[in-house]
């Protein structure tokens, strides 16, 4: 049981009661420390539209921010969203009734799914919530028009761990 279970429970209830537009909880564990979210991007620039975000609540939550990253994976077809044809050679399942999640292209999102967002680092305070992260991520992608990876993508993903570390980032450009 997480030491701040009450807080997590409150956040979880609120997410279920007032779901955020275009965001849904795919799954979560019983302790409410691991969440999978599906975020829909509606600005028309993203062909895939649907992206899967993993959020992990650390022991230090809410003093420290949760860890969050985008992940790849198969998506059950028949669910909402497009079934757009894929150019990704890994994705062999597009012929069948499945399609896959990819990592959204964004100058602050590395190709391994790590996100460079100051809310997940220095700007986090305990008054922020999982919901605030979901909202800022969604708006960060929706407002993006620059369809590129971060400038140091190749170098970064070579040495990156499982999650982005809080202190490792230089925020390249705060304008996007």
């Amino acid at each position: 049981m997480h030491p701040f279970h009450k807080r997590l429970l409150k956040e979880f209830k609120s997410l279920n009661k007032n779901p955020l537009p275009s965001i849904k909880i795919l799954s979560n564990n019983e302790n409410l420390t691991n969440f999978d979210f599906e975020i829909e991007i509606t600005n028309g620039l993203y062909d895939d539209k649907l992206y899967k975000l993993v959020v992990v609540i650390t022991k230090e939550y809410p003093v420290s921010p949760p860890k969050a990253k985008f992940v790849v994976g198969t998506r059950e077809a028949g669910e909402s969203g497009s079934t757009g044809t894929s150019e990704n050679p890994i994705d062999v399942s597009s012929d069948t009734m499945q399609s896959s999640y990819k990592i959204p292209i964004h100058p602050h999102i590395y190709s391994n799914g790590h996100i460079c967002l100051n809310l997940l680092g220095d700007d986090w305070t305990p008054a922020c919530t999982i919901e605030s992260i979901l909202i800022s991520l969604q708006s960060m992608i929706n407002n993006n028009t620059d369809m590129t990876r971060p400038p140091d993508d190749n170098r970064y993903i070579k040495y990156a761990g499982e999650f982005a570390s809080k202190d490792g980032f230089v925020y390249h450009d705060d304008s996007v």
Partner: protein, 581 residues
């Protein structure tokens, strides 16, 4: 010779030659290391003065943060209170002029940036039946905290929040993300103190004269601010690299003044200076116009070895332990060599061949000469490295023997092997002294503890026929031992890069002598610390007092003469380095 671009670090005669590490107690107030202007060498050489100042973190905070605020209040801004001035200084990176300018030019913006409200109402209060929006716990009775904005949270959440915010050294704001108000320095400490387990010993503060500064004496936010401030000015301040040491050394001279905010320039400056120390064979001199100066002999007495407030000596340039007799560039090259894979690469070169087709490395550890590369399946002859098929299918017979080609390969391999062995020879000795030093330190710690408990026992029972000055010899022995080992350790790095000149033998003999006395001293320490002698360690210490004292002197002397030997040898160019090794 280019004079203008050189810094010379000079040291007080005592500092440079006396390595006995006398205790600092008598000169604690005199923490300026003054250096004579006169150059030890060529009179025409315009030697410049390098001055260093020792700081403890506490003194640093007092002088640069708190006194800066007090001065502002006394002289320029008497209408402000000390708390607000500290916040303003903190916000503007401790630049008093900036605070004054901003205060008069753009008061509203400054107050807004600093998060100082017009009316202050910061409260810590007891609350009944409170539910905190952060942890969502329902408390029957809890302390809460709010700034003037009224964003109220429970004290537990505030405390954990403050702890995480402390790491970056910035001002700490209200938890609410849209709120910019700053928590004053004293208040942060007040909240920390609510949770602090250890009650501060009042006797500890007894001798401190209570001033405006004393209430800031243990402020954690100011300590963290000091850390980040000092780290941002790396050319001017260097932390003592010794573990757990919180002292720092400031470079106070004209260079620091005009290079203050330009770390890169300064580094280049230093490395230019070093490049003049480099052996010409390295061709490492960036600026060709300076190349005549590379002929200048190396003078290791110019190595900026400084000592922090608690006697740890280190090189200001490398921010590394005292590495004499090695000059900085040799140290850098050695550390790089030990760190990187160049020796692994040498081993591979010496003991393997590349597959002639895919260039994969193959170590042949036996078997016949018909090789099949595991990577590309290419079959070849280990003797001539040509395709196997031309060798016929029956028995091994290699007639494709090209002697010159083969000789060239073997010569190369042999050289690599010799170079590897040479490196290992020196590295082993370097590493042994390093690990012995750690072992010694542990042993010394134990002896020290035992000695202290023995002394306090004695004085309790009024049996004391020993005083602290009587065991000073023990402390001296500890210092001499660790410092002797350090010098020995680096003398092997020195040896690795040393060219084989006649004088090298003299160096090696001096090294050997130091080696012997250090081992002798270490042996006694070990014996005292032996578990078997647990009960009679104090007895042994007193029994060996004479030997300890004389060995301490011998080690200190030996260390001194090794460094002097290196110094004069390099100066007179009877010792030279070969960095191409």
């Amino acid at each position: 010779m280019s004079e203008e671009g050189s810094i010379d670090y000079d040291f007080d005669e005592d500092e440079a030659s006396d390595f006995s590490f006398e205790s600092d107690y008598d000169d604690q107030n005199d923490n300026m290391i003054d250096t004579p202007i006169e150059s030890p060498k060529d009179k025409t050489d315009i030697s410049k003065l390098a001055k260093f100042k020792k700081w403890t973190t506490k003194e640093f905070i007092n002088e640069n943060f708190i006194n800066a605020a007090v001065k502002l209040q006394n002289l320029q801004l008497p209408q402000c209170n000390l708390e607000d001035l500290l916040i303003m200084l903190h916000q503007l990176k401790w630049q008093s002029e900036e605070v004054i300018n901003n205060y008069y030019d753009n008061y509203d913006k400054l107050m807004n940036d600093c998060g100082i409200p017009k009316v202050k109402n910061n409260v810590i209060k007891e609350k009944l039946e409170y539910s905190c929006p952060i942890c969502c716990e329902e408390y029957d009775n809890i302390k809460t905290f709010q700034l003037s904005c009224g964003h109220e949270y429970c004290i537990n959440c505030y405390h954990s929040y403050l702890k995480t915010q402390l790491t970056n050294g910035q001002l700490i704001r209200c938890i609410d993300t849209s709120c910019n108000l700053t928590i004053p320095h004293l208040l942060t400490q007040e909240i920390f103190d609510l949770f602090s387990q250890d009650v501060r010993d009042p006797a500890q503060d007894f001798f401190e004269v209570p001033t405006a500064n004393s209430k800031y004496a243990h402020n954690m936010l100011l300590s963290s601010a000091a850390r980040s401030y000092i780290n941002s000015k790396k050319s001017k301040y260097k932390w003592c690299p010794a573990p757990d040491c919180e002292n720092l050394v400031e470079l106070v001279d004209n260079y620091a003044l005009h290079l203050d905010n330009d770390d890169d320039d300064f580094d280049e400056y230093l490395s230019d200076e070093e490049s003049t120390l480099l052996d010409p064979s390295t061709n490492n001199v960036k600026d060709k116009s300076k190349s005549p100066s590379v002929d200048r002999p190396i003078d290791i007495s110019l190595t900026p070895i400084v000592s922090c407030g608690t006697d740890h000596q280190f090189c200001y340039n490398c921010q590394y332990e005292n590495h004499l007799p090695c000059p900085c560039n040799i140290v850098r090259s050695w550390i790089k060599k030990c760190k990187d894979d160049s020796e692994t690469a040498n081993w591979i070169e010496a003991n393997t061949h590349n597959c002639p087709k895919c260039l994969n490395s193959i170590e042949k550890n036996g078997g016949c000469n018909h090789m099949t590369c595991r990577t590309c399946n290419y079959e070849f002859c280990w003797i001539c490295f040509k395709e196997w098929s031309i060798h016929g299918s029956q028995f091994f017979k290699c007639n494709n023997f090209d002697k010159s080609e083969k000789d060239a390969i073997e010569l190369n391999q042999k050289q690599k092997r010799v170079s590897l062995q040479r490196y290992l020879h020196y590295y082993k000795r370097f590493a042994v002294h390093e690990s012995s030093m750690k072992g010694d330190m542990k042993a010394l710690d134990k002896i020290n503890q035992r000695m202290e408990s023995f002394m306090s026992e004695q004085s309790k029972q009024n049996l004391s026929n020993l005083s602290w000055t009587d065991v000073q010899f023990l402390k001296d022995a500890f210092k001499a031992l660790t410092n002797g080992r350090k010098t020995l350790k680096w003398s092997y790095c020195f040896g690795f890069y040393m060219k084989e000149l006649i004088f090298a033998e003299v160096f090696e003999q001096t090294q050997e002598h130091l080696n012997r006395v250090v081992e002798d001293l270490s042996k006694i320490v070990e014996e005292i610390n032996d578990k078997k002698n647990n009960d009679r360690s104090t007895e042994l210490i007193m029994k060996n007092k004479k030997a300890l004292i004389s060995l301490t002197n011998a080690v200190t002397k030996g260390q001194q003469s090794l460094i002097q030997c290196a110094e004069s040898g390099l100066k007179e160019e009877r010792l030279k380095f070969d960095l191409s090794i």
